[in-house]
Amino acid sequence: MYQYNEFDRNFVNQRVAHYRDQTERYLQGDLSEEEFLQLRLRNGLYVQRLAPMLRVAIPYGTLSSQQLRALASISNDFDRGYGHLSTRQNMQFNWPALEDVPDILQALADVDMHAIQTSGSCIRNVTTDQFAGAAADEDIDPRPFCELLRQWSTSHPEFEWLPRKFKIAVTGATFDRAAIGVHDIGIRINGSSEQPENALVDIYAGGGLGRTPVLGALIREQLPVKHLLTYTEAIMRVYNRYGRRDNKYKARIKILVRALTAEGFKAQVDEEWAAINHEQGAVPAAELSRLSAFFAPPSFAELDNAGELLGTQRLENPAFNRWMKHNVHPHRVRGYSVVTLSTKTTGMPPGDVSSDQMDAVASWADSYGFGEIRISHEQNFVLPHIPQDKLYGLWQQADAVGLGHFNAGLISDMICCPGGDYCSLANAKSLPVAEAIQRRFADYDYQHDLGNLDLNISGCMNACGHHHVGHIGILGVDKKGEEFYQISLGGHAGHSGESPRLGQIVGPSVAREEVCDVIEKVIQVYLEHRFVGETFLSCFNRIGILPFKESIYAKAA
């Protein structure tokens, strides 16, 4: 992973000093609430329903064991002993005191971390494939390019005060696990990690969820990667100058792209790019090699696949067998596997992890996996490089602390926002709905039979829970002061290999008590109509929404 040098360390330390001074001036009354709001947001500090919330950047979801231990002690020293994995691969603390935040930021800086630009109308943490550098379907490791973008966008003098927040996602694999189609900028890198300077990039712009969900448009194909920063600069400048600032619901880049049309927007960006001295601004090949070297594969041992051993272990232990089936993914190197540690245990809010769990994950990363940890946008931990003969031991330890659930990719592995329990913008609670669904569909054989099924829940149309791209999406709405839920079907984020698509709303919203029944009806329709081996999504694509509508809204006989 990327290692800070003196420059990076100075930078984050100086950022902490600046923010400490801003906090002190606010507490002395020299900065108004309004002024301080803008400054604290750019350091990840929100003030929420119950308390402040601090969002810590985990650049492109990659974390060392030492960093995860530091997060665990921060959660003990300054919070209530837990943290929350977010859908943008960050970690959030829900109860820090505003006065303590400079000290928390210093504790982060001490392990080469920060909370810079994790909120506010600026370029946010760049996200990517949680299996980067390990996945069997990867062409090129996206992380060096993410780090390039992270550095370039950090305190960029021109782009810190945009019309609205700005999210960039990058992928380099066949299956897009980074959901690049629903980001302000989505980047697909083509090439090989051996020659990063020869990579070519496809750039999508104008995607996003929220109250107006839009899929990004492909505005540039096969751009030589040395131009990645100048082309991004051109996009940012057009957006910064012409994006709407009069209405925050119309301020995302997607609205600008739509107003200009994708062709019109592209023409404007290309014109701006032509005017930039893009040879002077090109990323030197030496810089790309320097960054890529940080992400060179760890020193993998020469191992054989442990098929026989695993076969025996799986036969002996059905619970391990289930976990192997769903939570262990193919690695690019023989004898290794990628492991998802699910946080979606019934009764726990999706993505919440205790400090003990963080410490445990860090120690497994050290014992088995080169000290490397990832956070997925599905709000789970990932250990990217586990030798296959260690899987059984790892699973036993994980299971003992509530991280050994078999459900990765299944219906109970839902994405869910904090909703009405924590969030002041919510129309409805989301956590109790998630829990009720997990309880209803707890049976393993049933879940396994359903196969991969993305169920995503948001407590309001801001769409933090990505409901638009769930195979089943659930959205909290307010109906005359009461909490209702709108169901949509057939969305997907792109990780199945197809291009992403937004779900279709199935009909009038339903009360909380009815949600589980409705989901069950949806699943019944699927089970009745599917061909052998047909996934929920393919089945939906074939039969359309009508049979689902008919079943859900059939008049009681």
Binding site: Q22, R25, E35, H156, R237
Partner: protein
């Protein structure tokens, strides 16, 4: 006399200055001081201004930053560039790196804060209007 933050021979200072009579784009002619809004489109004629001010409608309005970059890098304007209006002391360092060399602030305390934090880092990740150096170029 109004006091403001000004970069003189590369050094930022708080100083007294003579009041300038700013003209809007409509009233303005060559040799006088031009004040533009953040959504103005830069025109080559502006090179004849005695001074250019960009007026910020809100502290969060980043359009003035892009406009300043275009004036400096695209138009090649090298004269005085003034940030006016809803300018905030904690954004002064961004203004400085986008090529402003005069920053107006309403009171002495804000001027002092802005001066204290006009260059909060010993180095930056990206090149800017005022420096070609960056972490990215250092590698090569």
């Amino acid at each position: 006399m109004p006091r403001l933050l000004k970069k003189i021979h590369g050094d930022w200072q708080i100083c007294d200055v003579a009041e300038i009579s700013w003209k809007t784009q409509e009233e303005w002619r060559a040799g006088s001081a031009l004040q533009v809004s953040v959504d103005a489109e830069p025109a080559p004629g502006w090179l004849d201004a005695s001074s250019i001010a960009i007026e910020f409608p809100a502290m969060t309005d980043g359009r003035g930053l892009s406009l300043a970059v275009l004036l400096r890098n695209r138009l090649g304007y090298s004269g005085e560039l003034v940030a006016r209006g809803s300018v905030h002391q904690d954004i002064a360092h961004f203004l400085a790196r986008c090529g402003f060399d005069v920053i107006e602030l309403p009171d002495e305390e804000r001027l002092e804060t802005a001066l204290r934090w006009i260059d909060p880092h010993t180095g930056y990740y990206q090149p800017s209007v005022i420096s070609r150096e960056s972490a990215l170029n250092n590698a090569s």
